[in-house]
């Protein structure tokens, strides 16, 4: 039994920490050769993605482009093409940077996280995934093996907008929106998430429930921006909590507008 071991996936997060000696494991377990963890599978109601699927594969997957186009939109912000050649979806979800795009999407989709250890397999819903700042609720012997993203209707509206200082940087904040409208142009399903504002992505779940059945207009968008003012935001050496909150409001507004355009909704 290895006492002090770390799993090495794409290495884009772990290797910098090891190079800078912030993390100094006795052993490193390289799981890159486990082909079973590298897949994109469609079922009737979900897309299942293996944890070791690299970001470049996700970007070039036509099924994802059709069924979950927001993944494509978000992945374009993720790092640079060199890092996307190695960075994995599982790695990003386990590293759990507050501003990372893939955890934001997992939050948006209420993804199901499939975790494996020697006692078997279990499924953790994403809203229980984060234990603390950059720490998922995984025991040392757990391995994330796949994620399941429930499908939305084919004509759903989507948008992922982020603000980062430079191309490929971690976002300061990002907002993701998924929306389905019924034939009266009223909201039948909606999900809104904000990344980077706090240690984990924030879903506006109460607000989402409130606006079911409503038509989308300027008032609704304004009320969404008001709702964002209620969230908890964090402060650090680089950005204050009030700026994060202001930014989150701007980005939610823009994401909502864009998502509605794509759903054929009013702008």
């Amino acid at each position: 039994m290895l006492e002090d071991a770390k799993i090495l996936a794409g290495g884009q997060s772990l290797m910098p920490m090891m190079n800078m000696r912030f993390v100094t494991p006795e052993d490193v377990i390289d799981i890159n050769k486990i082909e079973e963890l590298n897949f994109i599978k469609l079922s009737d109601d979900a897309i299942d993605i293996g944890a070791m699927t690299v970001q470049r594969e996700l970007l070039s997957s036509s099924s994802i482009q059709t069924i979950a186009p927001i993944l494509n939109e978000a992945l374009a912000y993720v790092g640079h093409f060199q890092t996307r050649n190695r960075g994995t979806i599982g790695g990003s979800l386990c590293h759990l940077d507050p501003a990372a795009e893939l955890p934001a999407l997992a939050s948006l989709y209420d993804a199901q996280m499939v975790v494996h250890n020697k006692n078997g397999q279990r499924v953790i819903p994403f809203d229980e995934w984060s234990f603390a700042y950059m720490m998922p609720c995984l025991a040392p012997e757990d391995v994330l093996v796949s994620l399941s993203f429930p499908k939305w209707k084919l004509n759903h509206g989507y948008s992922f907008v982020e603000f980062a200082r430079r191309h490929g940087d971690f976002a300061i904040c990002a907002a993701g929106v998924l929306i389905e409208l019924d034939k009266n142009d009223e909201i039948s399903k909606v999900a809104i998430t904000i990344a980077g504002a706090d240690v984990k992505p924030i879903r506006l779940k109460a607000f989402e429930l409130d606006i079911i059945g409503q038509k989308v207009n300027e008032d609704l968008i304004r009320s969404a921006v008001e709702e964002v003012k209620k969230i908890e935001t964090m402060s650090d050496a680089y950005y204050s909590s009030s700026y994060r909150k202001r930014l989150a409001g701007t980005l939610v507004e823009r994401a909502l507008i864009k998502a509605l355009e794509r759903a054929g909704g009013p702008t």
Binding site: R166, H167, I172, Y243, T250, E253
Partner: protein, 774 residues
């Protein structure tokens, strides 16, 4: 001179090894038996060292030695020599090669570990047990100057490094007479150099010869040699310093660091070659930077926008130590008042110690600061008096008929500041035309109707370049007619070898491919100064021209005798000297070289010295002044505070250009560095002096995706101070950049009455300004 290379876009000879992976940077140099070093550095901004226990570290397998101050003998154990002494330094506090009982910045070197590999040396670092007594640090520049501020050095009386003043004219009278007294205050923050190669030292002490050879990623090999000779009390002739391929410098590699004492010392002590290569975190912590200066300025101006006088007070953060003298403070005020004719000036500068890494010049040194200050003066006048910004510049520029123009300011070296040549009005017009300044207002209005905020800003500067004392060049012809050039110059990407070849090839009329150049090695040329302040091109250009001219004249003189032709009837073409009229009478440079340097049994021609060669240390008669005008167009997103750079126009005057490719490369690179300063680069410290930006995720360097198209138009006002009319070109892109960008942002946000009082301008800061004024 048949100029076929001068002024031409000659491709660089330096490139072939670099593009094929055959460069030889310090870390690439492999010496047999080399050991590897790592430094134990202070984790505290200010602390006393109570005890150091290196026992565990020494026991680690693969560790050869762990050195602390107590291992250093006389004279090594004295503070690092002052490289730029000045009577104006009040407290000349320089670091000990390894800290003894006090550390004064996070990153200060305390111990040096030597091991078989770099990995093992770094493994040993946490095994060195140090007991500290943490002291209160002084971190903020404005606090450091206060009377009861915590002391950066526990035994000093205050935090004052120096109090400088420049003044001329009758400031009291001008302020009395002016129609308006205006003011502006701001913070300037420049950041680190972040050459992609960090610092590195490889030292090899040869005991049998008592000689030290050092490879250092330095901009100043001769400074290192001189300083080491002083520090070790060892003859310069026993020290050889080589700057091999160096991956960028930008200022901070021009100093003399404690690592450059300790690594050679340890090599001598262990009689083994030792290599130390800085990693990026070390670069953030222990390589000099150029950070905060705080400015408070008062302006005496008239209704028509003429500025009569400028009064100012600056507080400049020196950091913890002052091994680099006052070069940064000097260059911060002596370029005042820039390209403007101001009848009186009175600026004082308090240079203060703080418990942070030493601040020393970064690309442009203090010149970007001085240029920015003058642009803030002009913008303040324009805004307060409702005048057109370009018109205010025109009203105040030195006129082209005023040259040579004496500003009135006396440099600290006693010499008056004189601008040699220029045409600032025309330069501004060129920049405005390039930027379509006249068409901008309607673009701005149209964009505003669509909810977009566009802005345009201008900024002008002068740059004193090519400062002396010299940078020498030797030109020597061999018996095959090939030419050898050696020089004390050192390059970190500026293409000096190529421009040397261009100048000499023209003067001797040979192919540049027949010229071999060696630079950056103290054993290949007797004396040198260093690559800083856009000085090398001017100095080696002048010296190369002089030396090549002397070689040419010597060759022609002997050729005239041998061919029995009048001196003036001779010409050189492709290395062959011929009678212009009867071109079948020839002799080659190689044949002449043979005659000048015969072997045993031969004789040197009567009246001549041996060897077809010449050495010149000729430089410019004074510092030529380059100048520039920049115009920047931006778009501001008021929802996020993001500033997008849409277009950047540069009108640049560096006198006659030896190689336009190289000049433009320097300008574009310089502008991008300036963009970094204006918008992205910030070294953040917390209240306890802990750096908060120590990697490239936290400290933002400009990337290709955010850079605007950078368009350049050139103007050439040759310098009368050197025969080739040269002016320096290395920093003219950086110097005015922040001014243009900040003015553009204010212009974009004018309806919010935004006045920017610091850079870098971050999105959050902009949002606060916008919200505060809504």
């Amino acid at each position: 001179m048949g100029a076929r290379y001068f002024g031409a876009e000659v491709l660089r000879g330096e490139d072939k090894p670099l593009i094929t992976g055959k460069g030889q940077y310090v870390d690439d140099i492999r010496l047999p038996g080399v050991l590897h070093g790592a430094f134990v550095r202070s984790p505290h901004a200010h602390a006393l060292i109570k005890t150091i226990d290196t026992t565990d570290a020494q026991r680690l397998e693969g560790v050869h030695a762990v050195f602390t101050f107590s291992d250093l003998e006389e004279p090594i154990n004295r503070p690092a020599v002052q490289t730029y002494p000045s009577p104006l330094i009040k407290q000349d506090l320089r670091p000990l090669p390894l800290a003894r009982d006090e550390v004064c910045f996070v990153g200060e070197a305390i111990a040096f570990i030597v091991a078989d590999t770099r990995h093992i040396a770094e493994d040993a670092i946490p095994l060195v047990k140090i007991e500290f007594e943490v002291l209160e640090p002084i971190v903020r520049v404005k606090d450091a100057v206060l009377k009861n501020a915590p002391l950066a050095h526990k035994d000093s009386k205050d935090n004052i490094v120096a109090k400088l003043n420049v003044s001329y004219g009758n400031i009291i009278q001008d302020f009395k007479a002016a129609d308006h007294i205006l003011e502006t205050k701001f913070l300037q923050h420049r950041g680190g150099c972040h050459s992609m190669e960090g610092r590195a030292v490889l030292a090899n002490y040869t005991a049998s010869l008592d000689e030290l050879t050092i490879w250092s990623a330095t901009q100043c090999p001769y400074l290192i040699r001189r300083s080491l000779a002083s520090q070790f009390e060892m003859s310069e002739s026993r020290i050889r310093v080589i700057a091999p391929d160096v991956g960028g410098g930008f200022g901070p590699k021009a100093g003399f660091y404690v690592e450059e004492i300790i690594v050679p010392w340890a090599s001598r002590k262990l009689e083994r070659p030792i290599k130390w290569v800085e990693d990026r975190r070390e670069h953030f912590l222990s390589t000099n930077t150029q950070r905060d200066t705080w400015w408070e300025i008062e302006i005496a101006a008239n209704d028509d926008g003429r500025v009569l006088g400028v009064k100012g007070r600056i507080i400049l953060d020196n950091g913890a130590y002052i091994p680099y003298g006052l070069l940064l403070p000097f260059t911060t005020i002596t370029p005042l008042p820039g390209p403007y004719k101001i009848s009186s000036l009175d600026v004082t500068q308090d240079v203060v110690f703080t418990n942070t890494v030493t601040n020393s010049p970064v690309r442009g040194a203090g010149r970007p600061n001085a240029a920015y200050a003058m642009e803030r003066v002009m913008e303040t006048v324009a805004r307060s008096l409702g005048l057109e910004p370009a018109e205010v510049r025109r009203k105040n520029f030195v006129h082209k008929n005023d040259f040579p123009y004496e500003t009135g300011l006396i440099h600290f070296n006693g010499r008056p500041m004189i601008y040699d040549s220029g045409d600032y009005h025309k330069l501004l017009e060129e920049a405005l035309k390039l930027a379509d300044y006249d068409g901008f207002t309607s673009r701005q209005v149209t964009a505003r109707k669509a909810g977009r905020f566009l802005g345009m800003g201008i900024s002008s500067c002068i740059e004193d370049t090519g400062v002396g004392p010299y940078e020498g060049v030797t030109v020597r012809v061999d018996h095959l007619g090939k030419v050898y050039i050696s020089s004390g110059a050192a390059s970190q990407g500026q293409g000096h070898k190529t421009i040397l070849r261009q100048i000499v090839a023209d003067e001797l009329d040979i192919s540049i491919d027949d010229i071999h150049v060696e630079i950056g090695d103290t054993s290949k040329f007797p004396q040198g100064v260093g690559t800083v302040a856009s000085r090398v091109g001017v100095n080696i250009g002048t010296a190369a021209f002089s030396a090549a001219k002397e070689v040419r004249e010597k060759a022609l003189g002997l050729a005239a005798e041998i061919l029995n032709v009048e001196y003036d009837d001779l010409e050189i073409e492709d290395g062959i000297i011929r009678d212009k009229a009867r071109s079948n009478i020839t002799i080659t440079l190689g044949e002449l070289a043979l005659k000048f340097a015969p072997m045993s049994g031969g004789a040197v021609p009567t009246g001549y010295t041996a060897s077809l060669e010449a050495t010149s240390y000729d430089g410019s008669k004074g510092p030529p002044h380059a100048s520039g005008s920049n115009v920047c167009e931006v778009e501001v997103d008021i929802g996020t505070g993001e500033v997008k750079l849409l277009n950047y126009s540069v009108a640049h005057d560096c006198g006659r250009k030896i190689n336009p490719l190289i000049v433009e490369g320097q300008i574009v690179g310089g502008v991008v560095h300036g963009i970094g300063n204006a918008l992205f680069e910030e070294m953040i410290y917390d209240e306890s002096g802990q750096p908060q930006t120590t990697n490239y995720g936290e400290y933002l360097l400009p990337l290709a995706t955010e850079m605007p198209p950078i368009n350049i138009v050139h103007q050439e006002t040759p310098s009368p101070l050197n025969p080739l009319g040269l002016k320096g070109a290395g920093e003219g892109g950086t110097i005015p950049a922040a001014g243009a960008i900040v003015s553009a942002i204010e212009n974009a946000l004018k309806e919010f009455d935004v006045i920017i009082d610091k850079y870098p301008v971050t999105p959050e800061y902009l949002c606060n300004l916008i919200d505060g004024n809504r």
